[in-house]
Subunit: 193 residues, 2 copies
DNA sequence: TGAAATTAGCGTCAAATGACCTCTTTTTGA
DNA sequence: TCAAAAAGAGGTCATTTGACGCTAATTTCA
């Protein structure tokens, strides 16, 4: 499990073997069952999380109890609630497993130490954060401007591999449309093809 | 004009006087007229921008030509298109002045130099970026989940000072609702009070 | 394996929304 | 200062959307 993570670092960064092992050595593995929570709204996000296998979702609840999904995190990606983690304050969002899977956890103290000791890790983390910002912007623009049709098309274009792994109601919760509307969009696409 | 910026840094950071003057020395002032563009979609964002006075907006265009506003930037805030600036690639968004105003510009080369030389500036910049991420998250959740009523209430709660400075059509373009719907929401609020 | 839970899909209906239009008032900039 | 442009407000109407209820198929997990 940690091997998989070390391979990821080898492929995605130019970190040397010693540093990679140092990072892996501080990771704590954890298995997740379907629907198990990694973080609940109101708790403090105490770990940085790398997903080795499985699929997580980050979502917020509205007062009426409905879920809205901010992010899906499949294998070989990272997740956390940034504000809660950075400032160690209660989180506004929850993170739970859509599929069973395995993750690696680092405490903030440990990871901050690694960032200080390994400049290349810091630069890599910065790149990940940047990419997140860019895609978040695009996502906001789509949420503001696109029709349900367009939102669904964008989703398929950006995340084709997730389509078959997610129940439609979660895709609807991610796009900010009702399941009914999503079904209508899909129906219309079938007719057109 | 640069004095105002230096005061801002004095208030918001613990940078010392020498560093503050060093940062100010590399700034290039520019005046903006109403509706003047600072960045056009397709251009590369070559500067970091601090707004001394006035009000800017960052927006994206949809294929049908309608504008959707990602961000308002009033005095004493910063703006740029992060992806275009970081990677020096054509921007997906435009930035223009809602009100006439004054801004300070730093080229990426100059600002990168300052970040290297002044660790406290780097840490301050990091804080600003973080805050931007947090509020972007919240904004996305609102865009996905809230009714037009709630979106407008959130806007008033988060940015009361902008309400009187913006034409309603821009508020509508920021909230992702039509001007008609915004008017209906406002009408309903008048009746309720 | 088999019962229970979840999911996909559809019909109906009421409500919300946006497109298009007009009219008046306010603001802008030459 | 004054003509032109922009903004605010509202009316009508067609369309889109979501809420609710139902059934059948699929998946989950004890």
């Amino acid at each position: 499990m940690i091997i998989a993570f070390e391979n990821y670092l080898r492929l995605q960064t130019d970190l040397n073997g010693a540093d990679i092992r140092r990072i892996g050595a501080l990771a704590v593995p954890r298995k997740l069952r379907r629907n198990e929570f990694l973080l609940r709204e109101g708790e403090v996000c105490r770990h940085k999380v790398f997903i080795v296998s499985g699929l997580l979702r980050t979502f917020g609840l509205t007062p009426d109890g409905s879920e809205h999904i901010l992010q899906f995190s499949p294998e070989n990606t990272w997740t956390l609630d940034a504000e809660s983690y950075d400032r160690q304050i209660p989180s506004h969002y929850s993170i739970s497993a859509v599929e069973p899977g395995e993750v690696l956890l680092w405490t903030k103290a440990d990871f901050d130490g690694l960032l200080e000791e390994i400049p290349q890790l810091k630069s890599f983390a910065g790149q990940l954060i940047s990419r997140n910002i860019y895609s978040g912007r695009q996502r906001l623009l789509t949420a503001l401007s696109a029709t349900p049709e367009k939102k669904y098309e964008d989703f398929i274009k950006n995340s084709p591999e997730l389509l078959s792994r997610l129940p439609l109601r979660m895709i609807a919760a991610y796009l900010g449309i009702s399941l009914k509307t999503l079904n209508r969009v899909r129906q219309a696409q079938l007719l057109r093809s």
